[in-house]
């Protein structure tokens, strides 16, 4: 059981550096964001900012990749995502087609450069 839980210090880090700094924005949204009209201009703005921040996270994962993804050269990472987006666009917004296409290009490219 102690193996399953690991050390308590790591769990404390999870609470303080993971759970709290993440959850606070959800609960702030609930307790401070109330009473805003569904179609208001403010909501168009917050949606746009949320979308742009997520786009930033996507760009960051591609630009400064974690773990094993760093073993894939930059040009191949960008080409794979571009191919995935192209497949998504020509298949009338099929997420699956896009994901499969991007993955296949990355695997083929990795195999090709050895």
């Amino acid at each position: 059981m102690s193996n399953f839980v690991g050390d308590w210090h790591a769990l404390l880090m999870l609470m303080l550096a993971g759970f709290l700094p993440n959850e606070i924005w959800r609960q702030l949204g609930l307790w401070l964001g109330g009473g805003i009209d569904e179609g208001s201009e403010l909501l168009v703005w917050v949606r746009a900012v949320a979308t742009a921040i997520l786009a930033g996270v996507i760009a960051q994962i591609l630009l400064q990749p974690p773990g094993a993804l760093a073993s894939v050269p930059g040009w191949l990472r960008y080409a794979a995502v571009a191919a995935g987006f192209a497949a998504f666009a020509v298949t009338r917004r099929s997420t699956l087609a896009g994901v499969v296409c991007g993955e296949l290009l990355m695997l083929a490219g990795k195999w090709w450069i050895g």
Partner: protein, 224 residues
């Protein structure tokens, strides 16, 4: 038809959490820690950031700042989705769990599915959808953790690439207004430029800038 696309999104989510489980194993965290992070954080990007920042030996304060910056996007997500569930009699505490479940996938799904659900049943519906997705992701986290021991590098890289691909395409799919599309494209384009400044809050700066410009374009078009 929506059940088919829903299955695909769940598959993509499953694959993302396979990657998170694998990453947790590689960074020497326990399986219990990995599962607890999925239940408590419930946001792919924040979990990946926490794992990679703590795994690289940075302090808890640095990790907390990186996580909280990545989580700011949850604030407008919650603000924009909750009005769809409120009725005049809804109390705020009834929405605490709904707010916790809001993450990219559930946010996208709420906009797609909630209009087909009667308003007074939307909170219950979201609790069910959130719990179902959470169970799927817990199974994926445990499976990825178990696989990581003998995961070849190529397979691990492929799993990690699923995260940006899935997030990009599911966000693009959800673009309903011009402002959403402009925000997505500008957000992608601005981050590499802003990251050259090394401010530590690059994602926040590029996000607010790109989002505001996108809103400006929308406002200008509405007026014209």
């Amino acid at each position: 038809m929506w059940s088919v696309t829903s299955t695909i999104l769940t598959l993509v989510l499953f694959a993302t959490y396979l990657g998170i489980g694998a990453l947790a194993h590689d960074a020497n965290f326990s399986l219990g820690w990995a599962l607890a992070s999925t239940v408590l954080i419930w946001a792919g990007p924040a979990q990946i950031i926490l794992l990679s920042v703590l795994g690289s030996g940075a302090t808890a304060v640095q990790a907390a700042i990186a996580v909280t910056v990545s989580a700011i996007r949850l604030f407008p997500m919650v603000v924009s989705v909750l009005p769809m569930m409120r009725t005049p009699r809804t109390k705020r505490r009834q929405l605490v769990l709904v707010a916790h479940f809001i993450a990219v996938t559930l946010w996208v799904e709420c906009f797609r599915l909630l209009p087909q659900v009667p308003r007074e049943r939307r909170i219950v519906f979201t609790h069910g959808l959130g719990t179902g997705l959470l169970v799927v992701c817990l199974v994926a986290t445990a499976t990825g953790y178990g696989l990581a021991a003998n995961l070849p590098e190529l397979f691990a890289a492929a799993i990690l690439l699923l995260t940006p691909l899935a997030f990009l395409l599911s966000t693009a799919r959800n673009c309903r207004q011009l402002a959403d599309a402009v925000a997505l494209v500008l957000g992608l384009a601005l981050f590499p430029l802003v990251s050259l400044l090394h401010t530590g809050v690059d994602i926040l700066i590029s996000g607010v800038l790109a989002g505001t410009v996108a809103w400006g374009v929308h406002w200008w078009r509405e007026k014209a």
